[in-house]
């Protein structure tokens, strides 16, 4: 049910009356944009794969890095990111429901489903901020050798220790440093005084060093807490760089998706699409929103699972 104004608009662009690929101009252009964006993301993810295969033996294992869940103590691998995945899938579902209601010209239903989609997007962006905060502030702390290699502290029972546990003892200390800063001399003193402590590489290989070697390595090296673009306590610096870049780029997509969704939502409230006689704008922005969900499905697998 196209209005007269829209028909002339379409004829100007396409002419001939027949629609190429049985689709409309806006939707086709959205698809071509999404195709190029898909290739961009696959470039990033395969570059991540290249670095990971290059440093395979010492690449950090994601479930040792992302272990926090709000309100829960201890090791909770994968739970938080599973929740984020669920939120994004859910918001994709509300988006399909909005598009579906739009096809039936049900303004009230489109309004509600769009609102829920926007809320889902906000919760996801917020979750990602929380994840970044924990990644940046760090967990156990690590030793960086003078060859820029990251090593973690273990005791002779094979437990990985935080600086807090090494310095305050197993009873007093926390499994996570909780933002407490420790100096190199404090950690070195504690490492020297307890023969049960030693250093070990992250990742699959997990090569361990003797107590004497460990002390010598820390003396020549330094301590690292948290993560930035230059160094991080989890392992190879490329790990943090790719984490920031890929989840950041995806998060930026989610954020711009929320903004675009909001513009469409505002127009629904104003009745713009009711007057236009169709809700095709909701369909177009829906494609973008599903694409963001699609990319997350791959980020989830290649960053957190594999």
């Amino acid at each position: 049910m196209a209005s007269t104004a829209e028909m002339t608009h379409e004829e100007n662009h396409w002419g001939g009356g027949s629609r190429p690929l049985g689709s409309r101009y806006g939707k086709l252009m959205m698809w071509f944009f999404l195709l190029s964006d898909a290739l961009t993301f696959s470039g990033f993810l395969t570059a991540y794969g290249l670095m990971r295969f290059k440093y395979e033996s010492t690449w950090p294992i994601a479930e040792n890095v992302f272990t926090h869940f709000p309100g829960l103590e201890g090791d909770q691998p994968l739970l938080y990111v599973a929740l984020m995945t669920f939120i994004l899938i859910m918001s994709s579902v509300t988006m399909v429901l909005a598009v579906n209601a739009g096809e039936k010209m049900n303004r009230r239903a489109v309004t509600n489903w769009m609102l829920l989609t926007i809320i889902g997007g906000f919760i996801f962006v917020g979750s990602q901020a929380w994840e970044w905060y924990h990644f940046i502030s760090g967990d156990t702390g690590a030793v960086e050798t003078n060859r820029q290699e990251i090593l973690h502290i273990y005791n002779n029972e094979g437990e990985r220790l935080s600086f807090s546990q090494v310095i305050h003892g197993m009873e007093e200390g926390h499994a996570s440093n909780h933002g407490e800063e420790f100096s190199k001399s404090e950690v070195l003193g504690a490492l020297k005084s307890n023969k049960a402590y030693y250093l070990q590489q992250p990742g699959k290989a997990g090569q361990a060093f003797t107590h004497a070697e460990s002390v010598a390595m820390l003396e020549a090296g330094d301590v690292v807490q948290g993560a930035n673009m230059i160094r991080n306590e989890y392992g190879r610096k490329q790990f943090a760089n790719f984490f920031f870049f890929i989840t950041g780029f995806h998060g930026f997509h989610v954020f711009s998706g929320v903004v675009i969704n909001f513009v469409i939502f505002y127009n629904i409230l104003l009745g713009t699409y009711e007057r236009r006689g169709h809700y095709r704008m909701v369909e177009k922005v829906g494609l973008y929103w599903h694409f963001v969900d699609l990319v997350w499905v791959f980020v989830f697998t290649f960053f957190y699972l594999v």
Binding site: A82, T85, H290
Partner: protein, 102 residues
């Protein structure tokens, strides 16, 4: 537009996506011993994750993004470039990654 009656088909896909994600998370947490066998460069568990991911992606693209109901020309315009270029790039970079500095 394909004519869908009601919204049951949306919720069906929702449950499929949810169940696959739940299976992935459970497998990721327990890491069953028999699935850690190495085959063709990585473990069977990782292949399982990748296959499940592709199934999820297919449902999102086909149903949510409606590609299944588009004209053949548009389907090919989207599938051919992505299904040729992305596996090609993946193959080249992962192969190269294993040889860097060796």
């Amino acid at each position: 537009m394909a004519d869908h009656k009601g919204t049951w088909w949306i919720w069906k896909v929702f449950w499929i996506l949810l169940i696959i994600t739940a299976v992935e998370v459970v497998l990721g947490i327990i890491k069953p011993e028999f699935m850690l066998t190495q085959a063709l460069g990585t473990s069977i568990l990782n292949y399982t994750f990748i296959i499940l991911t592709l199934v999820k992606a297919a449902y999102i693209v086909q149903i949510f993004m409606h590609v299944k109901y588009e004209k053949k020309g548009l389907r090919y315009a989207l599938y051919l470039p992505s299904l040729i270029l992305i596996p090609y790039l993946t193959f080249i970079l992962l192969t190269e990654g294993s040889y860097l500095f060796t």
